[in-house]
């Protein structure tokens, strides 16, 4: 699964730390998701999408093989 977190974060102009704080996770988690090292839980994905004002499938995209 890939995601647009980095792009959406750039649009809002916030840092990984700020995003992490607003969602209540560690900054490492944001970084791991942005570098496709970690697939978040549904709860976390929903929170992130809500913060960006997008639907989950606009932020998180299934890939071939998922």
């Amino acid at each position: 699964m890939k995601n647009n977190i980095r792009i959406e974060r750039a649009i809002l102009n916030i840092t990984q730390q700020q995003l992490a704080e607003q969602i209540g996770v560690s900054r490492q988690t944001i970084n791991a998701m942005e570098s496709n090292k970690y697939v978040p839980s549904t709860v976390l994905a929903l929170k992130i999408a809500a913060l960006f004002g997008k639907k989950v499938e606009e932020v998180f995209i299934l890939e071939e093989g998922d």
Binding site: Q16, G24, V25, R27, Q28, N31, Y38, S41, L44
Partner: protein, 142 residues
């Protein structure tokens, strides 16, 4: 929040503080036959000394404290690192045990079993903290 069987973060420090004296006591007992006199109890006509019991209990408790103290920002990603590290530690621990079973015979195997009581926790602690650190270093504040 999901339910987690973890201790408050301060237990990591408590664990380290307990580990050092327990390990020292264990080493002194093992290699110098050191015994704390007031820990000798006469049970059923036999003098029993509880120095090694105290030392091993201290070591096991301190390792459990260190291993299962919650990280300051324990979220789902850190939990996943924790789980992976634990699986890795169990695998490595038992691989080493199989290796030792075939390589070490007779009386010295008692030593292997003794150390093996603790290695799974030690390997887990080292692996988990290395993974956390790797993550922090690969990930400097931008």
């Amino acid at each position: 929040m999901q339910f987690q069987l973890l201790l408050p973060p301060k237990y990591k420090k408590i664990g380290v503080l307990l580990f050092v004296p327990s390990l020292l006591l264990a080493i002194l007992h093992r290699f110098n036959d050191f015994k704390v006199d007031f820990l000798t109890v006469n049970l059923f006509e036999v003098d029993l000394n509880f120095t090694d019991e105290i030392a091993l209990t201290g070591i096991i408790l301190s390792l459990l404290f260190i291993a299962f103290a919650r990280e300051e920002h324990e979220d789902e990603y850190i939990s996943s690192i924790r789980l992976k590290s634990l699986q890795w530690a169990v695998l490595v621990n038992y691989s080493l045990l199989i290796l030792a079973t075939w390589l070490i015979h007779g009386f010295p195997f008692i030593d292997v079993m003794m150390y093996n009581m603790l290695t799974v926790l030690i390997i887990f602690i080292v692996r988990f903290h290395l993974e956390l650190r790797k993550n922090r270093i690969a990930n400097p504040e931008k």
